[in-house]
Amino acid sequence: MAFLDIRNVTKSYGTVQVLHSVDIAVQEGEFLVLVGPSGCGKSTLLNMIAGLEGITGGEIAIKGRVVNGVHPSKRNIAMVFQSYALYPNMTVGQNMTFGLEMHGVPKPERDRALADVAKLLQIDHLLDRKPGQLSGGQRQRVAMGRALVRNPDVFLFDEPLSNLDAKLRVDMRTEIKKLHQKLKTTIVYVTHDQIEAMTLSTRIAVMNKGHVQQLGTPKEIYDTPASVYVATFMGSPAMNIIPARVEVHHGVLHARITDSEGRPQLLRLSQGNLAAGRDILLGIRPEAITDPEGADRTSRNIVSLRNRVTVTEPAGADTFVTMTLGGRDAIARMRADASVAAGQDFDFAVNMDKAVAFDPATETRIAP
């Protein structure tokens, strides 16, 4: 039995169903990230785990105890809100120990817990200030401190970093990861930012329109996305989706696509389980299309592809190159000093080991 069990959970507001039978089992110490676009039901699911929203159907169990209908304060969970939700009239110290006070923990014990957590998060010097006197990053720490002090079974985070500026967000991300590695607590974390999801999680649930599209480790999600939706949502720039047809040449499966000029090109497929003659959507990540010098040496199937360059975008560490493949824009990720110019032909190296194939009708993955 899992530590946190979400079994066949649904949620409706009136006649509108916003969550469709969600099944997720979270093991103790896992860092589960719920990721998806705005409005897909991430917060709703998190609030249902917290007990802030009622459960329309199914069951949620924490440590083997079904918590449907159990008051939020009796679930031994703690939550960090997007807005931090610090009580404006209380000092940082009072904010952090309010939950313990409400749970009847004696003062000396509260003070000890407060001192420990304040030290851990390096906010000891802020304890007597009001939230209004703190910077965004400090408020963020206090909000996490308030959750930590309770020593809960499960931590729930609802987009905790989205109110910070870009630099601070990256720092706090690392900090949260460090904290998780140190405390080994079970965390459910909501974000719409796929990079946060990839970097923080031990497992990711990609959601869309109230459905869990795929549940898996970051590597599984990235390398073998279950659908075109997951493939294009995770990763930046998004995975290139190229209409192609499977053909056999010299006894080997190839994907036949068209290049910028509309000429046919053949890419040898690494996956053998595709029927010849069928149409597929070929998914190739930008970093799998490179200049030959930047190609992955460990790959067993690098295919050369000559194609016209539409736009180049130097981004410092890499240069992104846009071209047309299968009548759609496709992006390649080159080394920064690759000599490539717009309007000219270039010999790209395509790592077909990393390619995935989707069914054009259902948009689900069919290979590998």
Partner: protein
């Protein structure tokens, strides 16, 4: 002109600014004096012997200064048939106003809290109806209210008046607090729920401490309305009439000479508490108590 000879346009701007400002201040001063004129007339005539007023000199300072009219208005003047002065009625008003303001403000705050943070099916209808009560004129509720007070056995008593004013005021106080709490982040309430705080603990520990500004608005509004009310006081006051009704009886008394100096003193006495509330409560009308609760 000096400014032109220097060719610096900013000089001109500054000097016209100064002239304009002087004009504005002068105008404001005139308006202020004009508005203060009635208070001045009341003030000086309340410290004059009656003879000086009937002599026709309303605007002049007193030749003989006296506090006798104040003493008379407070404790000896004829109110109706009894020579009690305004003192007992002043006390009636205080006994009525203090609980009525406190109760209607607290109930309004609780209503606002429930209507925004503990929403239920049909809550907008409830709020709509309460809002509607703000537009009902006093006169319409007189007869139903008389029936209710009679049934409850509260007719002609201070508790009866308190009930009337609380019922009539709740619509307004609910409106104030609901609108104020609507802007209060619901995430704070959710955080407090997870922290284990109950319905009243959340209200008491989280919402009330930041309700200062709106509580002041509610208190000023309710105090002014209830203290200055005449109609309910005259209709339901019975033997516990408030200050306004007594003042009317003092001024309108048909027997004997009209003691204008006493009337002026009485009128000022009747106005002092509201003035006091504005001065004291206005100082607590501080904004920005919410700063820092959410992102910033």
């Amino acid at each position: 002109m000096a400014a032109q000879s220097h060719g610096v346009t900013q000089d001109t701007a500054v000097s016209t600014g100064r002239v304009t400002r002087a004009l504005i201040y002068l105008l404001l001063l005139l308006f202020a004096l004009f508005y203060l004129l009635p208070l001045y007339v009341m003030g000086i005539n309340s410290v004059k012997p009656l003879a000086e007023i009937t002599g026709g000199n309303m605007m002049a300072l007193p030749e003989v200064w006296t506090l006798e009219p104040w003493r008379s208005a407070w404790s000896t003047a004829q109110i109706g048939v009894e020579p009690t002065g305004l003192k007992p009625y002043f006390l009636n008003s205080i006994l009525m106003v203090a609980p009525a303001v406190a109760i209607s403000t607290i109930v309004g705050a609780l209503n606002g809290y429930v209507l925004t943070k503990w929403r239920f099916r049909g809550d907008t209808w409830v709020f709509g109806l309460m809002l509607f009560s703000c537009f009902i004129p006093f006169q319409i509720v007189l007869i139903p209210m008389a029936v209710v007070l009679g049934t409850l056995g509260l007719a002609g008593s201070v508790p009866g008046l308190i009930l009337v004013h609380v019922v009539y005021g709740i619509g307004f106080t609910t409106l104030y607090f609901r609108n104020y709490y609507a802007a209060f982040p619901t995430e704070l309430v959710r955080a407090a729920q997870i922290d284990g705080a109950g319905f009243f603990q959340i209200f008491w520990r989280i919402l009330l401490p930041v309700s200062g500004p709106i509580a002041v608005v509610s208190v000023i509004w309710q105090f002014t309305n209830i203290w200055n009310d005449f109609l309910f006081g005259a209709s339901f006051g019975g033997t516990s009439q408030p200050m306004t009704v007594a003042l009317n009886n003092l001024v309108q008394s048909s027997t004997g000479v009209k003691e204008y100096n006493v009337h002026f003193a009485g009128a000022i006495l009747a106005a002092l508490p509201t003035l006091f509330v504005y001065i004291v409560a206005g100082r607590y009308f501080v904004r920005g108590l919410m700063a820092g609760s959410v992102k910033g």
